[in-house]
């Protein structure tokens, strides 16, 4: 009995040692030795105790809490991916406030807002003296600034789009690796538990992998009686027991963007969480709106300006040319004939009079008119709205991310209090087990002395 007690105390100390060693391991859950009284011996004067016995080592995981943390990891993974990429888009737009002066050139002198403002102002200047070659040159250069900025922003946003697609591809690869790890761990855990042992370290490892996967894609799980965890993404079973039943796969949609489907089942998977979900949401949501807003703006600018401009006459009496060429923000450009020769700027309403400004005056007034194709907004009001829509998207994501981080913190604390290791507790336990060990050892020494006394009696 005492010998068994010694063994139990020794095992307790080993478990405490294990806990202490893992005090800083975030994925570790505190282990406890399950001890109970061993079966009593039946004697004529009643049940006699036989000491204690070890029933096993249990961990303190709370599966409910684990599930909540996985869900929150998916949420914050998605929001972080959206925040990062949309902030790149915001930076490329280059619309910032750097002073409280209202002059357009004080803030963001290279932004589209300032460029468009300068364009219409240059038409105004030209309307005062339409024969002046240097004012014509300025008007042409203002137009070139606008087209250059449209082109630049369009290119940069395309780069963000391409990077998002690359990220989706990479993250799908990582997710598939995690699925494979989870299946392997399932196999090992089921085998360990079937033979009657505990698989705490493997369970901790599997939980870490599940949280990693949650940060990439949202999923649901079911737990089998044999200890395996099945993973289900978008309604398609991905991990069943020890097998990977399906994988995530990317495919290109009609816009050339990557979407996600199940590799074997072939069904499309719409992810609402995880960085993959966030990347797709950002790319097809706020980024796509931004790109389409800029394309519409460029296209309307071209159409409206060209309609007025092409009816005008230049200083040589010629007419019919367009000022802008192209179809959208990425290819809008200034017609090279007028770019090379500002005297060909068609400012007049009729041929022959250098002071005739009626066409360039109409162009100037276009800046303050409401355009039907832009929801009856002026060019600059429409652009301002596009910028503020992006700002709204980012601001919403920022708020949601702050909340998600607070929730994650709360859940992590909760888990930590149920399954985290406290140095003070373990140290106290150690002292307790040490005393118990000493007591049991003392018991053995006493019994030994008593036996020796009995043996000595016989030998006398």
């Amino acid at each position: 009995m005492s010998a068994r007690s010694l063994a139990v105390q020794q095992e307790e100390m080993t478990v405490s040692g294990q806990n202490l060693a893992n005090v800083n391991n975030n994925n570790y859950s505190e282990e406890q030795l399950e001890v109970s009284e061993s079966s009593p011996l039946e004697t004529s004067f009643g049940d006699e105790g036989t000491g204690d016995q070890i029933n096993g080592i249990s961990d303190s995981r709370n599966p409910l809490l684990d599930g909540q943390i996985q869900a929150e990891s998916s949420t914050s993974g998605s929001l972080t991916a959206q925040q990062t990429n949309l902030q790149y888009a915001e930076a490329y737009l280059d619309e910032q406030i750097s002073s409280s002066s209202s002059s357009p050139t004080a803030d963001s002198p290279n932004g589209l807002a300032a460029d468009m403002s300068n364009l219409f102002d240059s038409f105004q200047s030209l309307s005062n003296d339409p024969g002046d070659l240097s004012l014509r040159q300025t008007a042409v250069e203002s137009a070139q600034q606008v087209t250059a900025q449209f082109n630049q922003v369009a290119t940069q946003l395309s780069t963000v789009q391409a990077n998002l697609n690359t990220s989706v591809q990479n993250d799908v690869g990582s997710a598939n690796q995690d699925l494979s790890s989870i299946a392997t761990l399932n196999q090992q855990i089921v085998a360990a538990q079937a033979s009657g042992g505990s698989a705490d370290q493997l369970v901790d490892q599997r939980e870490q992998t599940l949280e990693n996967l949650a940060g990439l894609a949202n999923f649901s799980t079911t737990t089998e009686a044999n200890g395996a965890v099945n993973v289900n993404i978008g309604g398609v079973p991905m991990v069943s027991g020890g097998n990977v039943s399906d994988n995530l796969q990317t495919y290109a949609d009609s816009n050339g963007n990557l979407q996600v489907q199940a590799q074997n089942a072939g069904t499309q998977i719409t992810l609402t969480g995880g960085s993959i979900g966030g990347e797709i949401t950002a790319r097809d949501g706020a980024l796509a709106s931004l790109q389409s807003g800029l394309n519409t703006l460029a296209s309307q600018l071209m159409t409206q300006v060209n309609t007025i401009y092409s009816a005008g006459y230049d200083l040589n009496g010629n007419t019919g040319q367009d000022l802008f060429t192209g179809t959208n923000a990425s290819d809008i450009a200034v017609n090279s004939t007028v770019a090379n020769d500002p005297s060909q700027f068609q400012a007049a309403g009729a041929a022959g009079a250098a002071g005739d400004n009626s066409v360039v005056l109409s162009l100037a007034e276009l800046g303050s008119q409401n355009i039907a194709g832009l929801n009856n907004q002026t060019f600059s009001a429409n652009y301002a709205q596009t910028v503020s829509n992006l700002g709204n998207s980012i601001s919403t994501v920022n708020n949601q991310l702050t909340n998600s981080q607070a929730v994650t913190q709360m859940l992590t604390n909760e888990r930590s209090s149920t399954s985290g290791v406290s140095t003070d507790t373990e140290m106290t336990n150690l002292i307790q087990y040490q005393k118990a060990y000493e007591a049991s050892a003392e018991m053995i020494t006493t019994l030994n002395e008593m036996l020796q006394t009995v043996v000595a009696m016989k030998s006398v």
């Binding site: 005090v23 800083n24 975030n26 902030q87 915001e90 737009l93 619309e95 910032q96 406030i97 750097s98 409280s100 002066s101 209202s102 357009p104 803030d107 807002a113 300032a114 468009m116 403002s117 300068n118 102002d121 105004q124 309307s127 005062n128 003296d129 339409p130 024969g131 007049a348 009079a353 250098a354 002071g355 005739d356 400004n357 009626s358 005056l361 100037a364 007034e365 600059s380 009001a381 301002a384 910028v387 503020s388 992006l390 700002g391 601001s395 920022n398 913190q409 992590t412 604390n413 930590s416 209090s417 149920t418 399954s419 985290g420 290791v421 406290s422 140095t423 003070d424 140290m427 106290t428």
Partner: protein, 312 residues
Amino acid sequence: MHVSTTSFSHNFLYEIQNLESQQSALQQETTTGLKVTQPEDNPSVMDQVLNLQTEAGANTQYQSNITQIQSSATTASDALNSLQTLVEQAGEIATDANGVNSSTQLSTYATQVGQLVQEALQIANTQDAQGNYIFAGTDTASAPFSATTDANGNVSAVTYNGNTSVAQSEIARGLTVTAQNPGENNTGAGTEGVFADSRTGADIFSHLIALQQDLTSGNTSAISSTVGPGLTTDEDHVVTQISGNAVLQSTLEATGNVAAQNSTSIESQMSNDTSADLATTLTQLSQTQTAYQAALESGTMVMQTSLLNYLT
């Protein structure tokens, strides 16, 4: 409640990071003096700011247009005043010639009128600071008036080569004005011609040339019956032009004042929308810094204490 060893440091880090980022945001607000810098900071303010900046740009442009037209209007005003003096002089000569019989005297008058014709031609071909002819309608690149001289070197006819269109300029949203005038307008519609207009009957050059010719030929009865009244009509016509010009200049001044006021009001709106209230910001910054320091001090104190310190 079981408190694990790592949970304390995780919470500590989380709170410290929150305080640090609050501090950093307030610091930036103090340094830049702005409470909004990016669209994500305050999307609706950003929208307003972009619109205000466009409006400010347009407003500045209107002020520049006004200045330029003001300059053209002043040039025109000077020319018109000279023209008025000139036509008055011609009118006086016409009156003085009445009842004069001496051909020498009449000849002297004729020479004087000849000079007036040359002066009038110069006035008619006035250019503004940009080199544009101001009495040519929109045909501003070439001199609008040309003279034909006879064998004696006297001007026998003056031809108008400009047109009767004028170019407008926008001086405020939806408001356009012109400082241009056609030199002559005999179409019966549009802006009045300065030197001749079929609606008023003014025809300065024709009348001046006729006066010179009548003085030379001694036809004083034609002077008093036809040319004299013609010149009177011309005088009235020029006076009308001068008052039209004065109206234009006062419109320009009034519109310029409104534009200046708009400028001020846009600046103040911008400032309200974007400027940080330094008093509030500095107070908040000071509070955050205090909280940060307190958190650091108390955190390190607690983290260092554990049971291990007391076990020997």
